[in-house]
């Protein structure tokens, strides 16, 4: 099911994935609070969720906290003295205060501010003031922080609320993203980010990022000209892959644009000249010209894995990798984006957007990076612009289904997988009862 397809484009993606169906998509999962409760129980509390990068916690005692509403949990992720990355519930074993209040930081131990209980970086309870006043058989060994399943894929830290996950993180990722392993995520260490709470269902937000049909319209003023258009004038993806959980889209750029020609920033003069020749944007042109040779890393040393641009399209610009359920990872030759659409309720989502570039050593390189970053931020403001209106429109109940075209198959795939897992979860609950 996940075999990359090379050569000619498929006639229709829906022909390749008949099990996903073709009919209109029900609106209820986007607006129904009861469906959201099912998603929490059968999807979010049972699957791997991306929470950050290992570079955020480089040395022992570095930690960050993620509050995950979909899991009813606040999770500490910490680098231990042995160099491992571990996760714990942010809940004291005594009378349940949080042991960490800050979103990130560095500690020697975790101290509860209520009664001073202390935990080491492996979650072991090591200090209890006035310990003798507890019962005689009180055993610190049995009162550590509650661990949460935690693993790392390509430098991305994932947690899983299931203490014994049905699939290891490696087995979860490999079928769709094995070919992405080796991508130089660790080399792109200049990170910029933004966040917002948008009053919209998490799937509605994610869906806005997993098709290119909207690009000509929502991004008509900004980056639409950076994507390669087909003869219908619409930017079609080069190809799309749907797996058991995850999905991927491969996207072609317009080499005669600064934003859509990634080679211009990596292979230097000739590609840059091509991009500049097509640019009628004086600041973009200056940014690309000044960027040449500006990165600290040499792109000659960067080896991109075969799983990137799996069709070997000459004008390939980037791949969109949707890691189930709500992690969006867009991989390009010279940088990557990592977005999370963390649900808060059936109609509220925390959108955390991060973009990771190579570090720049020159002022011109940094100027180019600022240009690309600001352009991206403004494009995201365009993406976000429709969402709350869409959610409000969906909530009116005027439509009980939405209609999809072939290249919106990723919207369908996401909905189908969530629905499949909820059905399986309900079935398993019934079998146990």
């Amino acid at each position: 099911m996940n075999q990359p397809v090379t050569g000619a484009q498929p006639a229709r993606l829906h022909d390749r994935y008949p099990d996903l169906g073709r009919g209109p998509l029900p609106v209820a999962p986007y607006i129904d609070p009861a469906y959201w409760e099912l998603e929490k129980a059968h999807v979010f509390k049972k699957t791997w969720l991306h929470v950050g990068r290992v570079e955020e916690i480089p040395t022992a005692g570095d930690y960050f906290v993620k509050d995950l509403a979909a899991c009813d949990a606040s999770i500490i992720v910490v680098r231990t003295r042995s160099g491992a990355v571990k996760a714990f519930h942010n809940v004291c074993s005594h009378r349940l205060n949080k042991v960490v209040y800050e979103p990130c930081g560095k500690v020697r131990k975790f101290f509860c501010k209520f009664h001073g209980w202390a935990y080491d970086l492996d979650g072991r309870l090591t200090g209890v003031p006035d310990e003798a006043a507890f019962e005689a058989d009180f055993d610190k060994e049995t009162h550590g922080l509650t661990p949460v399943s935690c693993d790392v894929w390509q430098g991305f830290v994932f947690i899983n609320m299931d203490p014994a996950p049905a699939l290891s993180l490696a087995d979860f990722m490999a079928p769709m993203f094995g070919g992405l392993e080796g991508y130089p995520f660790h080399m792109f260490t200049a990170c910029y980010g933004w966040s917002t709470v948008v009053n919209c269902n998490w799937k509605m937000v994610l869906d806005a990022f997993q098709e290119t049909y909207h690009v000509g319209y929502v991004h008509g003023r900004s980056i639409a000209d950076a994507l390669e258009k087909t003869d219908t004038g619409s930017p079609h993806p080069i190809d799309g892959l749907c797996g058991d959980f995850h999905r991927r889209l491969s996207i072609a750029g317009n080499p005669k644009s600064v934003y859509g020609n990634p080679k211009a920033a990596t292979t230097g003069a000739s590609a840059a000249a091509e991009a500049l020749a097509g640019s009628n944007r004086p600041i973009a042109t200056a940014a690309l010209r000044l960027a040449q040779g500006g990165t600290k890393l040499s792109f000659d040393e960067v080896r991109l894995p075969d799983g990137l641009n799996w069709t070997r399209h000459p004008n390939w610009a980037f791949d969109i990798n949707c890691v189930f359920p709500e992690f969006y990872l867009s991989t390009r030759p010279n940088y990557f984006q990592a977005y999370n659409f963390r649900p808060i309720s059936h109609d509220k989502t925390l959108f955390e957007a991060r973009v990771y570039y190579p570090e720049m050593k020159t002022a011109g390189g940094r100027f180019y990076q600022e240009y690309m970053k600001v352009a991206l931020r403004d494009v995201l403001l365009e993406d976000l612009s429709t969402l709350e209106h869409t959610q409000a429109a969906a909530a009116t109940g005027a439509k009980d289904h939405m209609v999809l075209q072939d290249f919106e198959i990723m919207v369908r795939h996401g909905a189908v997988v969530v629905d499949r897992l909820i059905r399986a979860g309900l079935e398993a609950d019934r079998a146990r009862a």
């Binding site: 990068r53 570079e55 955020e56 990130c104 260490t189 200049a190 990170c191 910029y192 980010g193 933004w194 966040s195 917002t196 948008v198 003023r221 900004s222 944007r281 004086p282 600041i283 973009a284 200056a286 940014a287 010209r289 000044l290 991060r354 990771y356 570090e359 720049m360 050593k361 020159t362 002022a363 011109g364 940094r366 100027f367 600022e370 240009y371 970053k373 600001v374 352009a375 931020r377 403004d378 995201l380 403001l381 365009e382 993406d383 976000l384 612009s385 969402l387």
Partner: protein, 117 residues
């Protein structure tokens, strides 16, 4: 808050009328863009564009992580040119057309991997 008046390196003294754009963070630069009209934005871009190569060359003579105040202000002005680029090149107005409120989408200025500048 009144920023301390910027004094640019001597070779760039002609850019003194635009030092209000010498703002150290993306948030501040975006706020200024949105508070400006297109006349102000275009005047700033027209003054800066012919000088960008010279500014970049001048700044590369310094350690970017430890710039003296005049160079840091000049660098911040250069980054403000990137901030206003979409206003000029995409929207023909200061804000994103029909865009989400950027005040609701704040930059995470404190991220551990965020470059100092």
């Amino acid at each position: 808050m009144t920023p301390s008046p910027a004094v640019l390196p001597a070779a760039f003294a002609d850019l003194a009328p635009f030092t209000a754009w010498a703002l150290p963070t993306e948030t501040a630069r975006n706020r200024r863009r949105l508070a400006s009209d297109m006349g102000e934005i275009r005047a700033f871009a027209e003054a800066m564009l012919p000088r960008l190569d010279a500014i970049a060359a001048h700044l590369d003579g310094f350690d970017l992580d430890a710039l003296p105040k005049p160079e840091a202000d000049l660098f911040a002005m250069m980054l403000s040119v990137a901030e206003i680029a979409p206003a000029i090149e995409s929207y023909d107005q200061p804000a994103v057309c029909d865009g989400y409120d950027s005040a609701r989408f704040p930059a995470v200025e404190s991220h551990r991997l965020r470059p100092a500048f």
